[in-house]
């Protein structure tokens, strides 16, 4: 089909639409009366709530770590310190998401807006990875030195912790878009809330492709 035929074909569609398409003005006016925030903007209160709670918790944990440095069990102290560091990263991701939300403007150019939205959604996967990475500390923070006097207990504890550490590290490094079709990935990230996350990462890849094909403008 020639280019001119293609354009003429589309114009014929245009004409048909013009003859058949009508606006329900009453419904369009009803939209202007809806008390609705933008979908993207509606995510902000929950994220800010999480940031505030995390910041308060981190402050409390910081005080505990500072006050107990001299006498706390090293297992407790380092476990809680690792928890604080990972939680600080997670909070940082939430702050980054709020910044992205405030930067999002649907009337901006397509590629830039979609990239921002896809980054926003895709970063949820990073939060999940960090939370998995954080899991082993729950097996170590309550270890007491006297437990090492019981070889059986000590063996069970070490095995338990090793399983958690290996599992957490494996998940942290393997939760990637490339593994999205694997059974274990689908098992962990099943459900409606995760599907958009995976699709967003797919979109990020597509945009990266656009970036390599040519220069972006803003």
């Amino acid at each position: 089909m020639q280019e001119s035929e293609l354009i003429e074909l589309w114009r014929s569609y245009d004409r048909k639409l013009e003859e058949n398409l009508t606006l329900n003005r009453q419904n369009a006016a009803a939209i202007t009366l809806m008390k609705i925030k933008s979908v993207v903007g509606s995510m902000v209160p929950m994220k800010i709530f999480v940031i505030i709670v995390s910041a308060l918790w981190l402050s409390l944990v910081g005080v505990v770590l500072y006050r107990t440095y001299d006498y706390a069990s090293p297992f407790f102290w380092y476990s809680i310190a690792i928890h604080a560091v990972i939680l600080a990263f997670v909070t940082g991701v939430y702050v980054y998401q709020v910044v992205l939300i405030y930067q999002t403007d649907l009337s901006e150019a397509l590629v830039a807006t979609q990239y921002r939205l896809a980054q926003l959604k895709g970063s949820t996967l990073l939060i999940a990875r960090l939370m998995f990475l954080h899991a082993p500390i729950w097996t170590t923070f309550s270890i007491q030195q006297r437990m090492f006097q019981h070889p059986v207990w000590m063996t069970v504890q070490i095995l338990f912790t090793i399983v958690f550490v290996v599992g957490a590290l494996w998940l942290f490094f393997n939760i990637r878009y490339e593994n999205r079709e694997k059974k274990w990935f689908k098992f962990i990230f099943r459900g409606n809330q995760w599907e958009p996350v995976v699709k967003s990462i797919e979109m990020l890849r597509e945009i990266e492709q656009y970036k390599t094909d040519g220069q972006l403008i803003t």
Binding site: I36, A109, M203
Partner: protein, 169 residues
């Protein structure tokens, strides 16, 4: 003269550009019910952005950007959209021949099908190309360079040509 931003003028703007909204929604949503939702979402986002409309851009550019951005994001945010926005009982845009599809000849039906098979950004480019936009307009709406637009449109047209000839042979 500055644009009046009240609700009555907004409805007039939507009325004057309803074809754009419908065509974009139709390119990204095959299902009739989903398309109704998408048209409502586009209209809603246009209304929310209306007070901030920057008159240095043409109104059509602004409408295309919002309609395309909403449509591309639409498939990713189905769940949260359902939670937040009220669904209107009736649709905003109605095709008079609602009970039966528009009498599209087979070439046009095929063209629609081919467009829907394109990736999200390529679909937007093809729509804009068929609508007769200049390369510079397309570059502004997508946020890529005009030369990039030219390369991509060339590739997509070639794809379409091949599909048409395969289908017809």
């Amino acid at each position: 003269m500055p644009l009046n931003r009240d609700a009555a003028h907004f409805v007039n703007v939507v009325d004057a550009h309803k074809g754009i909204i419908y065509k974009v929604a139709n390119a990204y949503c095959r299902d009739t019910e989903d398309r109704k939702d998408l048209i409502q979402e586009i209209t809603l986002q246009l209304w929310l952005a209306f007070p901030k409309y920057d008159e240095q851009f043409m109104l059509t550019t602004w409408i295309y950007r919002i309609a395309l951005n909403v449509s591309i994001s639409f498939f990713r945010k189905q769940v949260s959209r359902d939670k937040i926005n009220h669904r209107l009982d009736e649709e905003i845009l109605t095709l008079i021949t609602e009970d039966e599809p528009l009498d599209l000849d087979s070439d046009l039906t095929m063209l629609h099908e081919f467009i829907r098979q394109l990736r999200e950004f390529d679909r937007a480019l093809m729509l804009l190309y068929l609508e007769g936009h200049s390369q510079s307009d397309m570059a502004t709406i997508l946020g890529i360079t005009a030369s990039n637009v030219s390369t991509k449109v060339g590739r997509i047209k070639e794809q379409l040509r091949r599909k048409f000839s395969t289908f017809k042979s």
